[in-house]
Amino acid sequence: MSKTATSLLEVRDLAVHFRVRKGLAASRAVKAVDGVSFDLMAGHTLGIAGESGSGKSTVARTLVRIVRPTGGTIAFDGAEVANLRGQPLKRYRRRMQMIYQDPYDSLDPRMSVLEVIGEALTVRGLPKNQHTGEVERLLGRVNLPVSVATRFPGQLSGGQRQRVSIARALAVNPEIIICDEAVAALDVSIRAQILNLLKDIQRDTGVGYLFISHDLSTLRFMAHRVAIMYVGRVVEYGTSEEVLTNPLHPYTKALIAAVPSVTSRGRLRLKLRGEPPDPGDPPSGCPFHPRCPEAIDECRRVRPDLVAVPGGQSVACHVVFRSRPSVQAPGWPA
């Protein structure tokens, strides 16, 4: 897999550490994100999968600069954005938007749909008297009837609210939209509609998505490339084809095995014991080693780097490379 020249978003070694006070004077660092790297090409979708505590939501919030990164670089369209402030930050914000998990809390209940989308239009610079027309256009884009504009969020269903959120995000003409578990709270049939809608929008406008989800089958449908996160690190990264149909990392394998399918009968063959560790106190070496059925001695001592397998995806696992004689030098896969 070669990195194309149109990598819109390049994240390298992103780190987000929080200080949590402990006891009288001491504090410890919670490494929510501990060295994450990935690319997002324009008009493509990158899926980020992981369970709670993996740091995926923190990555999202860091990219839109709600949270400040403590290390690493974020390059958007060639320019470094991790430390922007003031006007440049404002300009950057318009190019990267976000849709949230909770359809009930992401819209201000006291504002009508018109006002909600209008707020975004004002940010874009559109004068108030031109809002109505543009709002109608946006509502049409998300397949909502125009009559919704005068309603309040409390009068809409979850799916309708998410559409409004999408419309709001589209209002500033972003180049990337981060979907932070955007369909997790919706009923399954509605989920399908929203995913379809997102795909249509991507096809029509060329917007890129960073799709965060714990649901691998959704990612299978939506994403071109997938990154699997565990305790703040990427453990496997590649095209969704590679990662989901030919998983290499034991964690990825376990995640996929855990997805019930229509054809699987009897019990699920879950091989995963225990629970994800506390991000404030992760295990040494590879953080997965306590739960890993294939762990070897090195896994406890040395933290594995993300290394490309020739002709395939990148994995952070000692066991994978032990069994492959030809291994590339560590470093970002070309």
């Binding site: 009068q155 709001r168 089958s217 399918s261 229509v262």
Partner: protein, 328 residues
């Protein structure tokens, strides 16, 4: 397993064991043509009106307050006499206050002044002090609380420490002490009460802003790039309104009681101006001979504070219901 997930044609699912199996080409039609289920528009005033009609207690309270406001505003036209005028026939031959009769509906006080007129003008003072002091206290308190809650960091610590310090002084003692510094006058009473009461609002508002800050729609606005001031005014403040209203009504009742206490002690509204507290203070010695001097202003105070408290309760309920209907 989301069976309903439609499968785009370009992604054929390889049927390899242990891998996600998805049905092919099953497109769920978009339910577009169907009108969204519309709940009735949440309207504060219609709800308020309806609930009032169902709750006689609240209705009486609100009516009483309206009556009070009317009396206070139109005092000079409603009162039968000048409250400061000392009548010759207002005192008996031995110089004692006169009981209620056809001339003086509530009798006279120890200086021969008409009690009813003084009561009416006292309403004016109470309401004026109550409303203005609370409005002032609310403005200061909301400002400080909102800034502390939103900005956080050192600013918040400093502001809250200061608020705590002022709150540590018992409110009446605080007001009395401040009056000693400024001297007793109606204006000073208002200022002193405002200076004592803002702390309660600041505390409450800061707590609310802290939790509002974390709401997702605030995060969404920040992601959009909406400026901080706009966020505070358009998103945070409207959600603070119910709290402000409730504490505001409570504040008016508290202010009225404090003003009455200060006037009772003789350091509030200066005599001979009519105030309910002052009337009670003057009437103390005439317990047995002229009980109406104590009863009239006392009942007035009780009814006023009671009505405000009850109306405040009702308002809280209405606001709560509206809030729940809008959906948080």
């Amino acid at each position: 397993m989301p069976c309903g997930v439609p499968f785009a044609p370009e992604r054929a699912s390889p049927r390899v064991a242990g891998v996600i199996n998805l049905p092919e080409n099953e497109i769920v039609p978009d339910l577009v043509g169907i009108e969204p289920v519309v709940l009735s528009q949440p309207n504060f005033w219609s709800r308020a009106g309806k609930s009032l009609l169902h709750d006689p207690v609240a209705l009486c309270s609100v009516l009483f307050i309206l009556l009070l406001v009317v009396v206070a505003v139109f005092a000079p036209w409603i009162a039968p006499y000048n409250p400061l005028r000392e009548f010759a026939n207002g005192l008996s031959e031995v110089g004692a206050p006169v009981a209620p009769n056809s001339h003086f509906l509530l009798g006279t006080d120890e200086a021969g002044r008409d009690v009813l007129s003084r009561l009416i003008f006292g309403a004016r003072v109470s309401l004026l002090v109550g409303v203005v002091a609370t409005a002032l206290a609310s403005t200061i308190g909301v400002l400080i609380g909102a800034v502390a809650g939103y900005v956080g960091g050192v600013t918040e610590s400093v502001l809250m420490r200061f608020t705590d310090m002022v709150l540590s002084f018992p409110i009446l003692l605080f007001c009395v002490a401040l009056i000693a510094v400024t001297g007793p006058s109606t204006r000073n009473v208002v200022l002193v009460i405002a200076f004592a009461y803002w702390t309660y609002l600041a505390r409450v508002v800061r707590g609310q802003v802290l939790s509002l800050k974390e709401r997702e729609f605030v995060t969404a606005a920040r992601t959009l790039g909406v400026g901080h001031f706009k966020i505070i005014f358009k998103h945070v403040m409207p959600h603070l309104m119910p709290t402000i209203i409730v504490y505001g009504t409570l504040g008016v009742a508290t202010s009225i009681l404090i003003e009455a206490s200060l006037s009772f002690l003789g350091i509030g509204v200066p005599l001979p101006q009519a105030s309910w507290g002052g009337m009670i203070s003057e009437g103390q010695q005439y317990f047995q001979t002229a009980p109406w001097l104590l009863i009239a202003p006392g009942v007035a105070l009780i009814l006023t504070v009671l009505s405000i408290n009850l109306a405040g309760d009702w308002l809280t309920d209405v606001l709560d219901a509206t809030r729940r209907e809008i959906g948080r």
